[in-house]
Symmetry: C2
Subunit: 230 residues, 2 copies
């Protein structure tokens, strides 16, 4: 009974995620979904990443997801890019961004000149991995402070992402964290996926991430143009 | 429609949570539910806490919740206490422990001599706060590595707990974490609740936590005996 309900919710979510992708294609936009535990450093990473993307002449917009507060939107204000905040508190404290709220947020940005949309999902290593937001690319961030076995304990989210980022590498030593072991564990779950190492605080690996995203962005837009020509 | 479904699930969960509490009372047991983000240090804290509780002559048992792996149960083996592992992967990768699985786990321990049950919930700062496990006491752990604003961004779990623990205080400086600000933010959400500071790695605050739990344990058993006498 409960499993049936979950299946219905997931199917409905998938359908709206396809609508999100159609809308993105019609506006010539790509969308990247960032997921992690609470406090893995998503927002600070975006604070560093957005200026790197802007330097590469791509117009960025952000959809911010949180249970409560406008904190993260406020933190991103200095980047100067348009930000839409979603508070899931109003939807029963939802533990993830569903494609319905992402679609609604996206519709609020249609007048803006945006080419690349970044979604910062609710801090959670389980549920966001189950719900397609309509993003083209899914990225999971794991912090060195969280222990080396997180990919093994939360396998679904690592399987469903295109890139894994190991963040806060500057404090790996202070936490006795073994980065090589984190990588090994990610590879056990998602052997094909690239892995990047970053420190948002020390600005390590941010330019490489921006380059990787821009390359993906171009591929997405080209394939979408091809589809339209067909 | 979706909200109705969620309400039904929560009501069903609440009913089974009451069954859990009845079973606990009938066996003269108390139950403590530990919740946090992935990697906040729950398991290492339990590795240090359980010997402190055993020193105080209380018989401990553990219910371990994870999406996948037996890692945490294996880590607790050296404490010598009975551990039941729940892997929610088999229940659609559930992001929290429902009272149904806790009840099933508890029923597996009925032959064991246990007085105090510790539940280690799935690492998640949203969903476990919404689902009553049937525990008498709920405890939330926040690590200094997660940023100071987590109580504000995930208010429900802090409101629903009896104690907040700030863990990994030994690396606060390495993370530029402001412990006073974390405390202030907890007090904004749950002004009445006690707050403890711990470092499982450096064994700070563990004895105090064991003392606090034991005092609560006695109160729970006394009130349960009173209820039986009535």
């Amino acid at each position: 009974m409960e499993i049936k309900i979950v299946k219905d919710v997931l199917e409905k979510n998938k359908k709206l995620a396809d609508n999100v992708r159609e809308l993105l294609r019609s506006k010539n936009r790509s969308m990247f979904n960032f997921m992690s535990s609470p406090g893995a450093g998503k927002t600070l990473l975006l604070e560093r990443l957005i200026p790197e993307l802007l330097k590469r002449n791509v117009k960025v917009g952000v959809i911010e997801g949180d249970v409560a507060t406008l904190n993260d939107s406020i933190r991103l204000q200095h980047t100067g890019v348009p930000v839409v905040q979603i508070n899931t508190e109003k939807f029963g404290s939802l533990c993830h961004l569903g494609s319905n709220v992402v679609l609604a947020a996206l519709e609020q940005t249609l007048e803006e000149e945006i080419e690349l949309v970044i979604v910062e999902n609710v801090g959670n290593l389980v549920c966001p991995g189950e719900y397609d937001t309509g993003s083209d690319i899914n990225i999971v961030i794991v912090s060195v402070t969280e222990g080396e076995d997180k990919p093994l304990k939360y396998p679904r989210i690592f399987q469903k992402t295109n890139l894994a980022i190991i963040n806060k590498i500057d404090i790996a030593e202070a936490c006795d964290a073994d980065i090589r072991l984190i990588k090994e564990n990610i590879r056990k779950i998602a052997p094909e996926n690239p892995i990047m190492e970053t420190s948002a605080r020390k600005e390590i690996g941010i330019a490489e991430l921006a380059d990787w995203m821009l390359a993906k962005h171009k591929v997405i837009l080209e394939s979408s143009n091809t589809l339209i020509l067909k």
